[in-house]
C-alpha cells in the first residue's frame, strides 16, 4: 500500500502545485495529507473544481483535481467544452468506486463503464498500482506535458492508504 504522504510527495515532485476537488473515502488519506500541507482548495462540485484548475493552470500552476468517478459525470461538459477545446491540461485523480461490481448500488453503473467512458471522452488514463507507481507517475507527467488535455490517474480501493486502513 502506498502511503498518502508518499503519494502527495510524488505529485509535488512532478511539479503539481495546485490541488482542488471533491472528497471520496478512497481519497481521504490523500486529501488529509494535502490539507496538512496547506495545498488543498476545496470545491463544492467537480465541474467547479475542474474549472478552477483550468484558471490556476492559466495563472501558471500545474493543477490536479481529486474526485470520485461519479464526478466525471458531473464535470463532463467542463472537461469537454473547456479543457479539451481550449487545450487546458489538468491531472484528474479519480477514485474507482464500483470496481468489479463490489460497492454500494449507486456506484455500480459508473464503476462498470468508467474505462469506456474515459476512452469515449478521449481522456488518457492509467490505473495506479504499488508495483508500477514510478512509471505511472512518469506517464502522467509526460502525457500532461505532451497532450495539454486532462489525464486521469485512477485510484482503486486499498492502493493508497486511506483514513481508515
Amino acid at each position: 500500500m502506498i502511503e498518502s504522504d508518499a503519494f502527495v510527495q510524488a505529485m509535488q515532485d512532478m511539479g503539481v502545485n495546485f490541488f482542488t476537488g471533491v472528497p471520496d473515502s478512497i481519497l481521504g488519506g490523500i486529501i488529509a495529507e494535502l490539507m496538512d500541507r496547506r495545498l488543498y482548495t476545496p470545491a463544492v462540485r467537480e465541474d467547479e473544481a475542474v474549472a478552477m484548475a483550468a484558471g490556476a493552470y492559466m495563472g501558471g500552476k500545474i493543477p490536479a483535481v481529486l474526485m470520485q468517478n461519479s464526478g466525471l459525470g458531473t464535470s463532463l461538459n467542463t472537461l469537454i467544452s473547456l479543457n479539451m477545446i481550449y487545450r487546458q491540461p489538468c491531472i484528474l485523480i479519480v477514485s474507482w468506486r464500483g470496481q468489479g461490481g463490489k460497492d454500494a448500488p449507486e456506484h455500480l453503473v459508473m464503476g462498470e463503464v468508467m474505462p469506456q467512458f474515459l476512452e469515449t471522452m478521449k481522456i488518457p488514463h492509467r490505473t495506479l498500482t504499488e508495483k508500477t507507481a514510478v512509471e505511472d507517475f512518469k506517464w502522467v507527467a509526460e502525457t500532461f506535458m505532451k497532450q495539454r488535455i486532462p489525464v486521469a490517474l485512477i485510484i482503486t480501493k486499498g492502493v493508497v492508504k486511506g483514513l481508515h486502513p
Binding site: 484548475a53 495563472g59 500552476k61 487545450r87
Partner: protein, 192 residues
C-alpha cells in the same frame, strides 16, 4: 415588460462603462452573448472569452485569482450562468479571495437562446452572494451608479459582487473569432 425595463441600460452599455475603468486586469467573460459583446467593445489579450462550459466563469476566475494573488481578477457573468453554478458563490464566499471581482449582468432571461425567462426576477442573486460571504455586494440599475460602485469596488478588498440590472437588448456582435487554444495562449502570456 418588467416595470423598470424602460429605464434600464443594455448589457453592452454597462460593459462599455466597466471596460473603460479596467486596464490590464485578467477578465474572464462567460459564454454566449457576453463574450461576443466584450470582444466587439474592447478586445484585449487579458480577456478570456468562453464559448461553452456555461456556469464556470467564476470558477475559472477563482483559479486565476488564487494563482495570481497580486492581480485583481474580474469575471463578467450572467444571471443564467450564476443560477447554474450557484454553489460557486459559496466556494468564493468561503475562500474570500481579496482580489476577486464578480460582475453579474442580470437581464432575467437566457438571452443567447431566445430570451427564455430565468428565475432571477424572484431570486435576488446579490442577496445570495451576500449570504455566501462576499464582502462587498452592490446592486445597481443605472450607468452613473454602476460607474460609482465599480470604481469603489476596484479600490476595495474583495470578494466583491456587482449586480447590474440590464435590459434584454443584445448587441449585434459576431461569434468569438479567435480559436479557443489561441485564446488560452494569448491570455496566459498577457497575465504572466
Amino acid at each position: 415588460m418588467r416595470p423598470e425595463q424602460g429605464t434600464l441600460i443594455s448589457r453592452a452599455q454597462a460593459m462599455a462603462a466597466l471596460l473603460e475603468l479596467l486596464t490590464d486586469q485578467p477578465l474572464i467573460v462567460c459564454n454566449g452573448f457576453p463574450s461576443r459583446e466584450v470582444q466587439k467593445i474592447a478586445d484585449r489579450p487579458t480577456h478570456f472569452y468562453m464559448i461553452g462550459s456555461m456556469g464556470n466563469a467564476p470558477a475559472i476566475a477563482l483559479g486565476v485569482a488564487l494563482a495570481k494573488p497580486e492581480k485583481q481578477v474580474v469575471t463578467f457573468d450572467g444571471d443564467g450562468n450564476v443560477l447554474m453554478s450557484m454553489g460557486t458563490l459559496a466556494t468564493i464566499g468561503a475562500l474570500r479571495p481579496k482580489n476577486f471581482i464578480h460582475v453579474v449582468f442580470d437581464n432575467e432571461v437566457y438571452g443567447t437562446t431566445g430570451n427564455q425567462p430565468t428565475i432571477s426576477n424572484v431570486v435576488a442573486l446579490d442577496k445570495v452572494a451576500k449570504s455566501a460571504g462576499y464582502v462587498n455586494v452592490e446592486r445597481v440599475l443605472d450607468r452613473d451608479d454602476l460607474v460609482y460602485e465599480f470604481k469603489d469596488i476596484l479600490k476595495k478588498d474583495g470578494p466583491s459582487l456587482l449586480l447590474i440590472k440590464v435590459n434584454e437588448f443584445a448587441e449585434d456582435a459576431g461569434r468569438v473569432v479567435l480559436d479557443p487554444p489561441d485564446i488560452t495562449k494569448r491570455f496566459m502570456k498577457a497575465i504572466e
